[in-house]
Symmetry: none
Subunit: 194 residues, 4 copies
């Protein structure tokens, strides 16, 4: 019930389905406007039954966030495994982050990003080190690619500009349109390159 490891929850388990549904609802309606009943309804159980799987609503949020970083981390690692050149690596990372933000695989990084302050301090604490590790990954990569990056903007600021740009896509980008995720990736890459 509490299982806080790097491994991902089986998406077919009750817990997995709950997490999936919660992520979707938190992303679209926001944490506060999503009721426990909403989540329960979404997976076809009654609201009281949720508390068999999670102690509190806050814990659901925490678990959703944890899943999203873990999933992102796993996918990024495997994506980077076979890539050598700095620019190609950046492209892969941007792509991964974009996919996560858009909620592919039901693991919405957007929830982690935009509902962070809804999470209780205790659960924030638990997630802080993963978040930091993740950002460290980016900074390392940026440092390794300095010569290709836009000059005149400090790397950590540039990363934050990029974050903001990608995070913000939740509010305007829909994959169905003329603009593919690849197009978007390419443009975001251009944004930070020389």
């Amino acid at each position: 019930m509490e299982q806080r490891t790097t491994s991902l929850t089986d998406p077919d388990s009750a817990r997995g389905k709950l997490l999936q549904a919660a992520a979707e609802l938190f992303r679209t309606k926001g944490y506060d406007r999503t009721t426990v009943r909403d989540i329960a309804n979404a997976v076809g159980i009654l609201s009281g039954s949720i508390f068999h799987h999670f102690k509190t609503k806050d814990d659901i949020l925490g678990a959703v966030m944890e899943e999203s970083v873990n999933s992102l981390l796993v996918r990024m690692e495997s994506a980077l495994a076979e890539i050598d050149t700095p620019v190609a690596r950046l492209r892969a990372m941007i792509r991964c982050e974009l996919e996560s933000i858009q909620g592919e695989n039901g693991h919405a990084l957007a929830v982690l990003v935009y509902e962070w302050r809804s999470l209780s301090p205790e659960n924030q604490q638990k997630l802080l080190h993963i978040r930091e590790a993740y950002e460290q990954l980016w900074l390392t990569e940026f440092t390794g690619a300095t010569e290709h990056l836009k000059p005149g903007i400090e790397p950590f600021v540039l990363r934050r500009f990029l974050s903001g740009s990608l995070y913000w896509t939740t509010y305007w980008y829909k994959e169905s349109g003329a603009l593919t995720l690849s197009d978007l990736t390419e443009m975001a890459l251009k944004l930070i390159l020389k």
Copy 2:
């Protein structure tokens, strides 16, 4: 009681103080977690009394947002009045938006940006044309500056990247640090220029 014009509310009036307090609370705690009582307390009246000034809590949010765009529009207009060159105009606009996002002058664009979905559809409707007018302003300016902008990114995408970059500063930038608002402005400008 509901006065919806382009003119700004007198900040010394009861309504003005309420709006100021609400903006600050919405920005820091979020709309849902801010109670009407919180707002009332902040200006030293009781919660029931708020409803002499606003029909609903949703209307307060609407008014806060309206004030923030209006204030931004006013300030941007006056800033642009004496500037001719495209790049300088973009710099001024970025500067204005950054100030609004950071909540300078008590007008928090951040609330408009991040609490938009908390606003009722009816009030969203009312604000839509102002928001669009504002975005049109940017697009026009971008179009006029095409030759200076980073190539390969469609203007409307570039504007959204910029928006995201600037909006996101709420979550990491504090003016007290080593980085001044001017520094930030300059870097954001570099981001979109060739």
Copy 3:
């Protein structure tokens, strides 16, 4: 709303009526089995309205208890004012405690006695010094009457035997029967005297 002094709450005020009703319910059904709705119904308001007067259900319990000791203290003081001889003073004290236990004036000492562990540690803390002061009063009186008391039982044990005897009357004594409160008082007095 929090007013924790020695003065008693006006029994005609909303708070007073609430306290009265709660005391009665706590005494007859017990704290846990009494719902906030029960209390509200008893005074003709809705359950939500209770929280205008008390922050939590636990605070209601605390207030009921406080009122009961205070009321007892006040009545005891006035009863003792004109009495000099040790035995007569003990009789008066027993009478006062019996009246309080039986819930005369709606201030049920029985609640303080039998629901003590239902009270939150924080509120227990607040009441502890009053309870102790009250017991001290008895001990002082017992010490002053040593020669009239049953020998062979340590005073503090004797007081506790008496407490238990009187507290227990809630469960079997009804004033309507053949046994008057005066009879009971006299018998309880005999119990502890030589």
Copy 4:
């Protein structure tokens, strides 16, 4: 599964261990604040499994109470078997009741006494005759010892004073202190004797 006889449950059986744990919890936390899960945890099974042994939580309470009177009755009978003089018999009975109240042998008379109103009317009915038989025992003994008892207090009142005194010890007496159970017995005896 519901075996309601005068014989005591084998303390090593599942039912026996459950009863023991429940008694302890009911005595310390109270019936309402003890969850079925608490009881299950205490004996190392899951909450659902309890219902293989008892139909309802109320039945557990009933069984605990039944065990406690039965155990008391058994012990009292054997204690009285070899005693002839009235005063000695009273002493033995007081001792037995004190032991039961204090929860010796895991059989808590305190639960029967203080949680009586938590028991459903149906189960109260079932236990009533045992309780009455028990009280009859006392009254008979009191009647046989009239000449040694404190005069001026009707026997049934005196018995209730004694009950209250002994029951109340749960709230203040700990066997670890300077006062032994024998001391307490002697003092309680003195209380009712001439």
